[in-house]
Symmetry: C5
Subunit: 253 residues, 5 copies
């Protein structure tokens, strides 16, 4: 679980709810179901137009990734690659066949399997790079959904507020109702700003970061497989791959 | 038919119409024909200035693509390429001549025809890549029209609202008319926001996505043709091209 | 003449003037000479600061290009290149010397002249590419002027409106004048929005499109010259260059 | 200490506080603790959702970097590289082993150590480039946090203002309270604009500049190490690396 | 002196001052010293935080460059390079030694000096390219300062207006003062818009253009030096370098 994201979500919602509680208006003044429907429903409807149904159905899972992601265990990945390199050095590339089942990282698994099967380094690299690109495309779509939700939510908030203002302006016979009418109209803009800035925009940012981190791990995996196949020494591989770690993590041999 | 886009469109319009129905203002309060003309007519006029007539006339067809696109059948494309590779392996490249007529994908068709006619791999690749670029340019123009409509609609909405406000401010002798005048002025901004956020902007996003997907299929087609021409084994081609599929789809042999 | 741009301009202006005519305020209410001077004069002044005098003096001619451009005759260009290739094939490269005078396209002319004069293919390509880049830079500056005018017009519109509001707020002794004062203040913002969205922004878009189209023709010209110089067969050149055409145009042999 | 940043901070805060002091409203009118909590707390909460806890905890240190950075001593770095090159020229590459301990720049240190240990130039360059990329990624994240804070602060300012307006509009029974209610509502927007434009946005800009400067020093270090390893003459190295300095600094031999 | 920039500046200021003179409010209504301090002082303070003191101190000189730049004399530069090429052709590369002192362009000077001193073409090009990159970085920083001033000026304008509104709303006991209070509050936003759109934004645009032009001249210089060193004929060099000129300037032999 990504503790920072959880704390951030609780803090953002707590600040907003706390501010309302500290004010002298009742909570009910901030609740308007049709406004909520226009903002959230509208943003999802616009995203549904723009993205495939399959991707949209996966979007709650993608959003959960922000909260549940555990970070990349790059040190473990490098350790496993170096282990494989040692086996390959000692017993030959074919000796890795028996170890393929134990490999966690799917890219390393595919690469080692192909190397054992006798694919040339060029073909192995091409396959792994295409795979990486495909993963990048999937990530980009996930982030894109959040980006669009964060862009459409305030837009539908503004549409709702305009509708509310037009309704209010139609009937100004009772001046005492103007304030309340305008308050309701503004709620939609507020909802749009809240869902965009508490959920969609920070979530999109985080998904971008998670993706960039995963891309680095995939790069480590590709370079590791290529180095094993070209018979580099485990020590050289370890040194080369550890440059991807922050200095503080490198000491842990 | 792209069910997600249809649901999204119905949902977005339903939410907006439903909100109006739930309010206490009559529907008529939200209808103003001159405002609609300024927003939609203005956005199309600006797009007509910016794009060729031929492209503008195709824009309804392009917009329909958002609703009617069926998605790429990449698995079928790969299967067909692997079939061709098997024939080429068994009976030689020239044996593909009789099969050219059955090929659906125009890029594969062109490529195989050229290979059979004896063009060198470099020439075949150059022709296919130029073709792909030209398709990308056409897609970009289609998306560009939607992008510009989505940008000009709110701009003309604002122009209409400013005109309405100036009219209203000219004649403030009857204070009871101010509210109604302002309501009418705001309708143009609301129309601009609605057509941009229900139609043009999500449509532009979707066209970008459809284009990116088609580009991947074109890349599969090019790599497939190149692999057939260089005589790679059908199994290797299958493995290489399937890296373009999401893992879940790869199992289906 | 680019009929779409002309129709678009007439339509956009017609919609705006028609809306005013349909309203109940007199035309005079929308005319304010100082506002017009601040918006249009201000935008041109800012562009004068940002661009060389020479480029600014050419800007009306550039703007006219949007209306007068006839589109690229790529089919004719390809035909001429294939004709040259046939002559070169039949009678040798030097036989093209007598035909140089008939070549319309300046890039093809320069390239063929250089090839006849004995320049190496590398030098010919370098010269043609540098020329193309220089044309791209000139186009970019033309589009840049329109972009900046489209950005400064609304900015000076806002400056004018702020000046008008400050004037109005200085003297609120006569409440009946407030409405008219505010109307005049808003006219500047409206002018800025109109000139940006009817003229400058769509013009900038169109200039970008015209430039991209011309770049494709220049690419056809360069590839054609290179192919002629390297002695490719007219048929291969025809096929290669026609990939730059939309499929519908290719059939016309 | 970066004197410019400190002066800038004091000047910006002084101008804002001075303007308030010169006005006729008491200081207390500009202080509202819940508004401050919503803006600053909200911006940090949104950043917490978007960035890892570890990076967020480092953000105060990163912000201090803006004030404490001393600038790059490129002249000293070049001098040290040229010294190493002279030793290598005179006594051989292995003679650098004893000098590794004295090298300040970690990249030069790593590179020389690897060269002495017998790594090939290709491997040395790959390791140093990967290291540089990793540093660039860390810098980008630091700047990214400031960028997001500078984007979320005004957003939460707007959310706070909308909440304040809704509260105020709920209760318009006492007209004399409307002004004060609206003033409080606007404070949140003002806080958001101030923290974004006095702190987060200029800090993000400065971090980008510091990073670009450091990248140039890293490039000098890499090129220096590569030149030493390939045995270039100290004079040539000095001349080559000094092109990275502004002309005014080059004279100092 | 760049006459266009001077005319533009006078025109922009004249239009703004003329509009005020034509209105019925006294000039004094548009002057508010604290507002000016907040906008201009605030923008410079934010830039001071973001840029090194040394760069900020050079910013007035950079701003003057917009007015004083004379444009590039590319024709003269090409003529000088062709002259040098003729000497080198006739009397050998070493004969250029005596001419180095007469060369105006610092890049050509450095390059010819290095060529005469016996540096290889690769080294000469590397040094000249690094130098060019360093100049590009310095230009970018100059433009960056103007960009940031043009971004911060309106931001501090808004901060000033919010402060003014809060002050005004605190004390609404005297309704007749509301208009004047609001007018003063709006002056800050107007100042921000004026300094950004009359000075900083057009200046940043112009600096970008001047830099791009200078980059082309540097490219001419580098290609000229490389061509001289590789012994190309003066006529070929002339033809190659003149492709960087607009066609109208090429005729002047």
């Amino acid at each position: 679980m990504d503790i920072a994201s959880v704390i951030g979500l609780i803090l953002a919602m707590g600040l907003i709810l706390g501010s309302i509680a500290m004010g002298n208006a009742p909570f009910a003044a901030f609740i308007d179901v049709p406004s909520g429907l226009v903002v959230i429903g509208g943003a999802f409807a616009a995203a549904l137009i723009a993205f495939p149904l399959k991707s949209m159905l996966k979007s709650p899972k993608i959003a959960l990734k922000v909260i549940l992601n555990k970070g990349e265990d790059r040190l473990g990945l490098i350790k496993q690659i170096v282990d494989l390199a040692e086996t390959a050095r000692r017993d030959g590339l074919l000796a890795l066949e028996s170890k393929v089942g134990e490999i966690d990282n799917p890219l390393v698994k595919t690469g080692i399997q192909m190397a054992v099967d006798g694919s040339t380094p060029e073909v192995v690299e091409e396959v792994l790079r295409t795979e990486t690109e495909a993963i990048a495309v999937r990530h980009k779509e996930g982030k894109g959904i959040m980006d669009q939700l964060g862009r459409f939510a305030p837009a539908y908030g503004m549409i709702g507020t305009l509708m509310g203002l037009i309704m209010m302006l139609q009937d100004m016979s009772d001046p005492s109702g103007i304030g309340a009418g305008m308050a309701v109209a503004l709620i939609t803009t507020m909802y749009g700003a809240i869902v965009a800035n508490v959920f969609f925009c920070p979530f999109a940012e985080k998904l971008g970061l998670i993706s960039r981190n995963e891309m680095v791990s995939l790069e480590i995996a590709i370079r590791g497989v290529m180095a094993i196949q070209s018979g580099e020494s485990p020590r050289a591989i370890d040194q080369k791959l550890k440059t991807f770690l922050p200095p503080s993590q490198r000491g842990e041999e």
